[in-house]
């Protein structure tokens, strides 16, 4: 089966430090893949590359969603690669690069089907919960200025549909009682769930969750595991997550990728990883290796 996401040779440097070095992994469609590793291993950096917030220095990130050719869509082109001299001989390519230089960015990655949440929650605090979800559907509603101002039929229908969709997700995450509260006023656990709901409102193929269980109590964590599993099973959303709660990771993941110092040191099923000596060494220090 073609993987949904293939990362090949991903490399990024900050100043002189190589944060990621030749990272390779793949995410199978319909799976839950977890990125784990000690603090500072580069997990969030991988996320930021995959979702387009950082521009990788090398490698490819291909997404096989929708009707693209076999190669898939290289997400890095969407961010606007630097224009090179040799592009001058390929006007189409030059135009494409220039276009993405000016208008490219993480938003195109999202539109291609990758949504994410953030480690430190980033909600629209002074907007209501419902508005948070409506904003996420910006590309699906009728955003044209005139039809909105004139309240055209099409506009109203699309708004209604967006409201429905948002309500669905609110119910799914048991937040429907708080639709008209300010997002910033919600308790922490609810904010985490709201952020997931918001990401899902963009209809992603791949959902990237950055430490979704951080700061949750055991009860909430259990509920979250259930929700994630339901998402995969019922909604066919593929999930890539970073998590420190090993219990949860081992319980729900189909596939694990272990990072240390910017390199992949192991990949496999939870059982394989639990027995991998390099992983143990990375987590417990070199003495154990």
């Amino acid at each position: 089966m073609t993987p949904l996401l293939t990362v090949r040779g991903l490399t990024i440097r900050f100043g002189g430090v190589t944060a990621l070095n030749q990272v390779d992994f793949a995410v199978q469609p319909g799976s839950i893949t977890a990125l784990i590793g000690p603090n500072g291993a580069g997990k969030t950096t991988v996320f930021n590359c995959v979702t387009g917030f950082y521009r990788a220095d090398g490698g490819t990130i291909r997404l096989h969603a929708g009707q693209q050719d076999e190669e898939g869509l290289n997400l890095l082109t969407l961010l606007g690669e630097p224009v090179r001299w040799r592009d001058c001989w390929q006007p189409q390519r030059l135009a494409e690069r220039l276009y993405y230089q000016m208008f490219g960015g993480p938003h195109l990655v999202n539109r291609a089907g990758v949504a994410r949440t953030f480690q430190n929650i980033r909600l629209f605090n002074e907007l209501t919960v419902m508005e948070n979800l409506l904003v996420a559907q910006h590309t699906q509603v009728d955003a044209a200025l005139l039809s909105g101002l004139l309240r055209s039929r099409r506009f109203l229908a699309k708004e209604e549909a967006a409201l429905q969709r948002a309500t669905e997700w609110l119910r799914f995450f048991a937040l429907h009682g708080e639709a008209n509260r300010l997002a910033g006023e919600l308790p922490y656990g609810h904010q985490r769930r709201l952020e997931m709901a918001r990401a899902l409102c963009t209809n992603p193929r791949l959902l990237c969750l950055d430490e979704p269980a951080a700061g949750l109590n055991p009860n909430e964590t259990r509920l979250l595991s259930q929700l994630i599993l339901t998402l995969r099973d019922q909604f066919q959303v593929t999930i890539l997550l970073i998590e420190h709660d090993m219990g949860m990771v081992m319980e729900i993941s189909d596939h694990l990728v272990v990072l240390d110092h910017g390199e992949v040191i192991a990949r496999g099923t939870p059982e394989e990883i639990q027995q991998n000596p390099r992983v143990l060494a990375a987590y417990l220090g070199t003495g154990a290796g």
């Binding site: 539109r111 629209f124 605090n125 200025l145 909105g148 309500t167």
Partner: protein
């Protein structure tokens, strides 16, 4: 009691120190004239006043803020179905329509000015209040609008009715062209760039004498209504309106005409802004203000969304400019200084950044107040300054709270009907 006196005395002593050289010694050439009793009296007044004010006001909450305590206890945002009650809106409309028949010519000119400021305030509110882009050069677009009409008339006999859309368009274009490179900048840098841009526009208008007339400005004709003129005698080749209707000439006609025209434009704009807030683009602006990174992760292109806010705000500014030119009958660069930008910004901030009614109220306060204070002539601007500081301290979040729209959730039945819209949802 004694502690309070002691405190008042210390305040008085500082006041004396501050006032003594400035009020007590007045420069006259290279010498000074001394009036030592003045600072003494003032300091005494400050001392006594401090004492009584602190005694009187100690129970009023906002006064505590001078102690430096947090001022964020009241919630900044309310969630509700709509803004003011329909009754109030009707009343306000009736008042606005009746106004020209109640107040005189002077009242009309103040009212027109207030309307122009409401227009500008609403325009800047889109940029600052909704999209959260601090724009200190809004006056540039105002100037573009005013000069579009003035120069358009001067060179090509452009009529007001053509200048109105053209000015808006041109100002919007300017906004876009400026916005595109700079909207990637973060908050305060954007403020500075816009400040610089506002100054550049004014300086160019002032220096490019061959085209703009420089400081001499350009004369503008008053708009006509379907070819009917508002002059005593026809000047632009039309018929004076009073002859057409067979009434006697009154210079009030033109003020009333402009007033109602502006009222209509402002009314349309208010409806537009209210709708914008419940539209995808308006929501995207506010989301961008709240968190840019999150917006980008949700498929919203921050630059184009900002650009739309910037351009739309600029267009409104341009319309304001065209009206200003029509009102003045003459434009020159001295009307478009940085101070004007600051004043419009003050309207937006005072209005509560994003609240439409707040901006309208603030625009009225800040245009009518200086006029009311004309009786104090010398102390007028001083009082406006004091009022600005006091109002900010009293209501740092503006006159009105921001209001968020309320969404009624669809019932389960409706939901089932619409369930097909969400792929794979079985309506749990």
């Amino acid at each position: 009691m004694w502690a309070r006196w002691w405190m008042a005395c210390r305040v008085g002593a500082i006041a004396l120190l501050l006032l003594a050289p400035m009020v007590g010694a007045v420069l006259s050439g290279y010498q000074i004239e001394t009036h030592w009793q003045r600072p003494l009296w003032l300091a005494l007044a400050v001392t006594v006043g401090t004492f009584f004010c602190s005694w009187l006001l100690q129970h009023i909450g906002w006064f505590d803020r001078f102690g430096g305590r947090a001022a964020s206890s009241t919630p900044a945002v309310t969630i509700g179905q709509s803004g003011p009650r329909p009754l109030w809106i009707l009343l306000a409309m009736a008042l606005a329509i009746a106004l020209p028949f109640v107040v005189g010519k002077y009242g009309m000119s103040v009212a027109i000015l207030a309307l122009i400021y409401i227009l500008l305030g609403l325009g800047l509110n889109i940029v600052v209040g909704l999209a959260g882009l601090l724009d200190l050069g809004f006056v540039a677009f105002y100037a573009v609008g005013a000069y579009t009409y003035a120069l358009g008339y001067h060179y090509w006999q452009l009529s007001f009715w053509l200048a109105l859309p053209l000015g808006a368009l041109l100002a919007g274009l300017f906004g876009m062209v400026l916005g595109f490179p700079v909207l990637r900048l973060h908050g305060d840098y954007l403020a500075i760039v816009t400040l610089g841009f506002g100054e550049i526009i004014r300086l160019v208008l002032n220096n490019w004498v061959a085209v703009t007339g420089g400081p001499n400005g350009v004369s503008v004709v008053f708009p006509t209504l379907f070819g009917l003129e508002f002059n005593r005698r026809a000047k632009q080749g039309g018929t004076p309106i009073h002859e057409f209707f067979g009434i006697s000439y009154s210079s009030d006609h033109r003020a009333i005409f402009l007033y109602f025209l502006l009222l209509a434009v402002v009314g349309l704009l208010i409806i537009m802004v209210i709708r914008l807030k419940r539209m995808p683009i308006g929501r995207a602006w506010e989301a961008l203000r709240e968190n840019e990174v999150a917006c980008r992760s949700l498929g919203i292109h921050h630059v184009t969304v900002k650009l739309s806010a910037f351009g739309l705000g600029a267009m409104v500014g341009g319309i304001g400019g065209v009206f200003f030119a029509a009102l003045q009958g003459f434009v020159n660069p001295s009307s478009f200084t940085f101070f004007e930008s600051a004043y419009i910004l003050a309207i937006v901030v005072l209005g509560g950044m994003g609240s439409t009614t707040g901006v309208i109220a603030a625009a009225m306060v800040l245009t009518v107040l200086p006029e009311l204070l004309r009786d104090f002539s010398d102390y007028r601007v001083l009082s406006v300054g004091i009022a600005m500081v006091l109002m900010m301290v009293w209501r740092p979040r503006g006159l009105r709270q921001r209001r968020r729209p309320f969404f009624a959730l669809p019932t389960a039945a409706e939901e089932n009907r619409a369930a097909a819209l969400v792929p794979g949802v079985d309506g749990r």
